[in-house]
Symmetry: C2
Amino acid sequence: MEVRPITVLAGGVGAARFLQGLLSVVPAEDVAIVGNVGDDLEVAGLHVSPDLDTVLYTLTGWIDEKRGWGVRGDSDRALERARSLGAEAWFWLGDLDIGLHMARMERLARGEPLSTATATLAERLGLRAQLLPVTDDRLRTMLQTPEGELDFQTYYVRRGHRDRVTGLRFDGARSAAPAPGVLEALREARVVIVSPSNPLISIGPILAVPGVREAIAGRGGPTVAVSPIVEGAALRGPAADMLRSLGHEASPVGVARLYAGLADSLVFDSRDAELAEAVREAGLRPHVTDTIMRNPEARRRLAAATLDAAGAAR
Amino acid sequence: MEVRPITVLAGGVGAARFLQGLLSVVPAEDVAIVGNVGDDLEVAGLHVSPDLDTVLYTLTGWIDEKRGWGVRGDSDRALERARSLGAEAWFWLGDLDIGLHMARMERLARGEPLSTATATLAERLGLRAQLLPVTDDRLRTMLQTPEGELDFQTYYVRRGHRDRVTGLRFDGARSAAPAPGVLEALREARVVIVSPSNPLISIGPILAVPGVREAIAGRGGPTVAVSPIVEGAALRGPAADMLRSLGHEASPVGVARLYAGLADSLVFDSRDAELAEAVREAGLRPHVTDTIMRNPEARRRLAAATLDAAGAAR
């Protein structure tokens, strides 16, 4: 299989919106996406891959744009019925979304790996970018909190990410193998982009798969990261609080330090322009632009600026 | 737990309709139902118990009466979506039905046994009869055919029960334990009724669980079976052909021989009245009545006649 020119490391909503911008400036056929599976969970026997699905739905126009996840206009007959029959069903699943999980699960249940099941879903939904789960093996992000260790979705959805995070663990990572094509996509792409996702819990699980970090660090070509933090806050989700509670700076500088040795450049918001020197000291070339992805045009501009940053690094 | 006065061994549609009649002549609180789980299957990770569900839906008014299974007026958004995404999804599941399977599966996934998960569903749907799966353990009806060994739903639904059945096996039966309450319900009920279900593949798996056959055979009180065969044919499903291909007579006499030593009486259709003597020779007291359950009144009359037969046996 030929390696595509651009590989993007992706978490959920932020990555999906960035990718939407990217696909409006380069052909989808030029892009491979390495997606996080640390958020995966089983809901009533169904394997759900929230980050992969958010990317898939966003890039194929099915996303519920307002929520950032799930299928636009989806009904919830099955879930409401399950609840009326005593299920907790705290992880919301619409009927069309359940259909996708059933299609995926049918394949997994007969022994197909997640990567080929994902490829089929992507192809059926008309996604021409390549979507690769970082691994076909079980990998689960676990968070230490004052309430004990929580799996990601219990922390994030069930408890509304209100717990202070004091530690992270990627269960299964050490024995996980990169899915077929992942290392090649990272090593041989002309450009690797780390999308504006939470570096700890969206990009972290990807980097925890043996071989992935090395493949990126050993690249000849440029690797550009995009900061999800603007003026000390995350646009969505608990990234800023989590960076702080785990001893990092909630700023582009903190992000730069996490990606030092991996990325050569960091794209971050012009509101944080005064941090350019500190980013450079952390070892990354600073690129300042508007990073707020409020609409398709803003997403397109951020993607274009990120590609420019990669070009400048050559 | 107090044992209820009437225990009914039940397969799917025929049993459900018989039970509907029974609950119109005795209080639901007087009835325990021991249900077949040999037809159970996993659909895309969801545990489905078709026979238990048919009984549950029929007795709580949710049944799609025309098909005999599934929820009346159910939509199929999830399933159609799964199919459009490449799933085979040959076992039809409506959205509300999926909700029930999710509620069940949520419980099974956290280690709850099928019997208590079933009890919760029954209670939530307002069923006041007790519905007991014969076992909480995995039990699967396997059929030998010229196409090889098929699991029940592959034979029945996927291949439309067109294959000649040359042998039966109840996978897992030998190591299965009766679910809590099953043996007591069979031993201590005043009356045990074997409903008009396929004796080989609906009642057979129930009898294959160690202890069940002995509990029925050792009863003091009456046990009455109802023949599902009328004039050499089954009203529904492949019972007649299967009886023949497995070397039995497709008649009340064949049914009587299968239940000899278990039931004392056999209720069968007046159109087969001339077989009364042969039924008696097989060891069962013959009771002739109209057994076609074409409407609620016919179901009620058959249930009443069956209770009369039990009374006559005392």
